[in-house]
Symmetry: C2
Subunit: 366 residues, 2 copies
């Protein structure tokens, strides 16, 4: 077996160490005589798995006691609907920042589900400038009476990221999509009222969605909400109103354990910052052969989109990269070019190999 | 490693042969250099996986061309909401048959989400007789103008099953929950307008829900429905509006291939009928030591609930069974006693061992 360097934006590379453990336990988890996929979610074995996953996630992120951790289904796209249905009552308004494809989709879905009964208000957008930076303070027009402020702190497609230190100053609850950079750096959870993340980028397999929600936001849903979408009901039932995606939760829990073994999020941040520096240095030092359009201060450490000045070389670049064992580098169709997603599970060596390939390709083709 | 005989009602036993294949491919699927959990859902590898899964399911069930196959999230519980939101417009009425815990939950959730704008009508119920049989024709009062008729063809908790040959005669679309017996026997899909099933009983891991829907039922959802819940949108997007539960779909697909290798559903029906006969014969021949309360014609081949006449022996029964490698036999808390779920992946040998244990236990304790 030979593993490639996998730069997929998601579902994405998982730590080989975690996969080896999954493999070892696949038919017999800890002597249970069956694998995790085959266990009742109500049994003591799976209960211990989901409890450990929550405890480890709480430790990694320093989640305060007044926040609940939910393991849900449906991905971030379901959250785009679930958030306004739970948190935006008729007659109220919510603010949305639009800084890339994902936050734009969140606005569209919120508008769809509230259907004019409430106001989904764009409080700032960088769309006119091509989603190549985050918003400056002067460009954000916040409503102090908004039910919440929604934003996406790492735009996977456009490669724009902000840290919790750069959140807009506001007293309204901040609801944030951290799908593609959660667990890549420490986060002050207390600055957010609700954090959500599809697992398939930096957490585990697709099919489980993390929601970290402050308790005072629970119980605001209308009585007509589908029960599986009601945060309060899911919190009351420990994410087990119905059968949860048990295997995806188990693998995510193993990733949390792996992150603790790496030294936690402070250590991951150092590694991730270094990986990103290597790659951006290669791009910026290429004399325009490669280009990343994002303002330097807002560049994502996780998703690095770049274009080749001579786009006629794109197909060669991808084919030669693949031959060198560097895969899933094609950019999202909406922006074109290339994208290297360098999540937690991408080792520094993988980025070094990508950079060496990119340098060599440039020298040969420039 | 020693595998137990696992009678869990779900998540449930999977074929060891399938698990071995998953294990072999976990870090490198067919030379891709990464596992299925790590692949983009938009890439050619995963596309081939989901297309093969759909083709095999279509072949196994003989799904007509005018039906769409969807791989969704949220389980049957989400379908309890999603069905009326899609198919029950304001001012209309839908009929529900109540023959156990699951169909009763479906009514409650439908009432919740329509909230009085439409009529969720119980067209027949066996609750008064303890959910120990299906409804007789004379007990069903159908509305010829109903938007649909909903029923559950195998009640997992109460062990009541009907075949498609016994569906009520009606011209309205039949919507059915087949979660706990889909793929256990041939089904005439054309008798249903919509079939749904959570995967974690007879299909694969939890986290994926099969929906097989006739095309004329698509496009009936209100414009305000969360996009992920709109059958038409999911059908248009090949279940990939957003990232689907890729690994769960992959494992389900391997189960479909395994079923084909067993000879398909006609062969599975023979095996399942034989397994059920062995177990019911043990219960019925126990001179009242074990009892199954379900009317013989309506007994489930998949879920066999039974009680011990002397319930003070329950704890001994479970402990000794576990020591003999027979696990997850405790009945659902709402009915008590025991339950043996003997899905497709439970070999006849497992049922024989259970029967041998039950016979021996009775002789020693009677």
């Amino acid at each position: 077996m030979s593993r490639v360097w996998n730069f997929s934006a998601g579902p994405a590379v998982l730590p080989a160490e975690v996969l080896e453990q999954v493999k070892d336990e696949l038919l017999d988890w800890h002597g249970a005589g069956c694998g995790v996929m085959e266990m009742s979610h109500r049994g003591k074995e799976f209960t211990s798995i989901i409890e450990a996953a929550e405890a480890d996630l709480r430790e990694l992120l320093g989640i305060p006691a007044n926040y609940r951790v939910l393991f849900l289904q449906g991905g971030a796209t379901q959250q785009f609907a679930q958030i306004p249905i739970n948190l935006l009552p008729a007659g109220k308004s919510a603010d949305y920042l639009v800084t890339g494809s994902w936050s734009k989709k969140a606005v569209k879905e919120a508008q769809r589900v509230v259907a004019g009964t409430a106001n989904v208000r764009v409080a700032g957008s960088t769309e006119a400038s091509g989603f190549t930076r985050f918003l400056d303070a002067g460009e954000i027009d916040l409503d102090p009476n908004a039910a919440y402020l929604h934003l996406c702190t790492n735009e996977t497609i456009h490669g724009v990221e902000i840290d919790c230190a750069r959140l807009p100053a506001t007293a309204v609850p901040i609801v944030a999509d951290l799908s593609s950079h959660i667990l890549s750096r420490p986060v002050d959870v207390s600055k957010y009222a609700l954090i959500y993340a599809g697992a398939q980028k930096n957490v585990g397999p697709s099919g489980v969605t993390l929601v970290i929600v402050r308790e005072d936001l629970l119980g605001r849903a209308p009585a007509t909400i589908p029960t599986v979408m009601d945060y309060a009901v899911m919190a009351e039932n420990g994410s087990m109103l119905n059968t949860p995606p048990t295997f995806a939760i188990y693998v995510s829990g193993l990733v949390f354990q792996w992150l603790k073994r790496q030294g936690g999020l402070a250590e991951m941040e150092k590694i991730n910052a270094h990986k990103a520096e290597l790659l951006y240095a290669c791009i910026d030092g290429s004399e325009g052969f490669y280009r990343n359009p994002v303002r330097v201060a807002d560049r994502s450490r996780m998703n690095v989109p770049f274009t080749l000045a001579r786009s006629e070389l794109d197909a060669d670049f991808l084919a030669e990269a693949k031959a060198a064992g560097l895969v899933s580098l094609k950019g999202h169709k909406s922006v074109g070019g290339m994208r290297a997603s360098i999540y937690n599970a991408m080792p520094t060596d993988g980025v070094r190999e990508l950079v060496a390939f990119m340098d060599d390709f440039r020298k040969r083709k420039a």
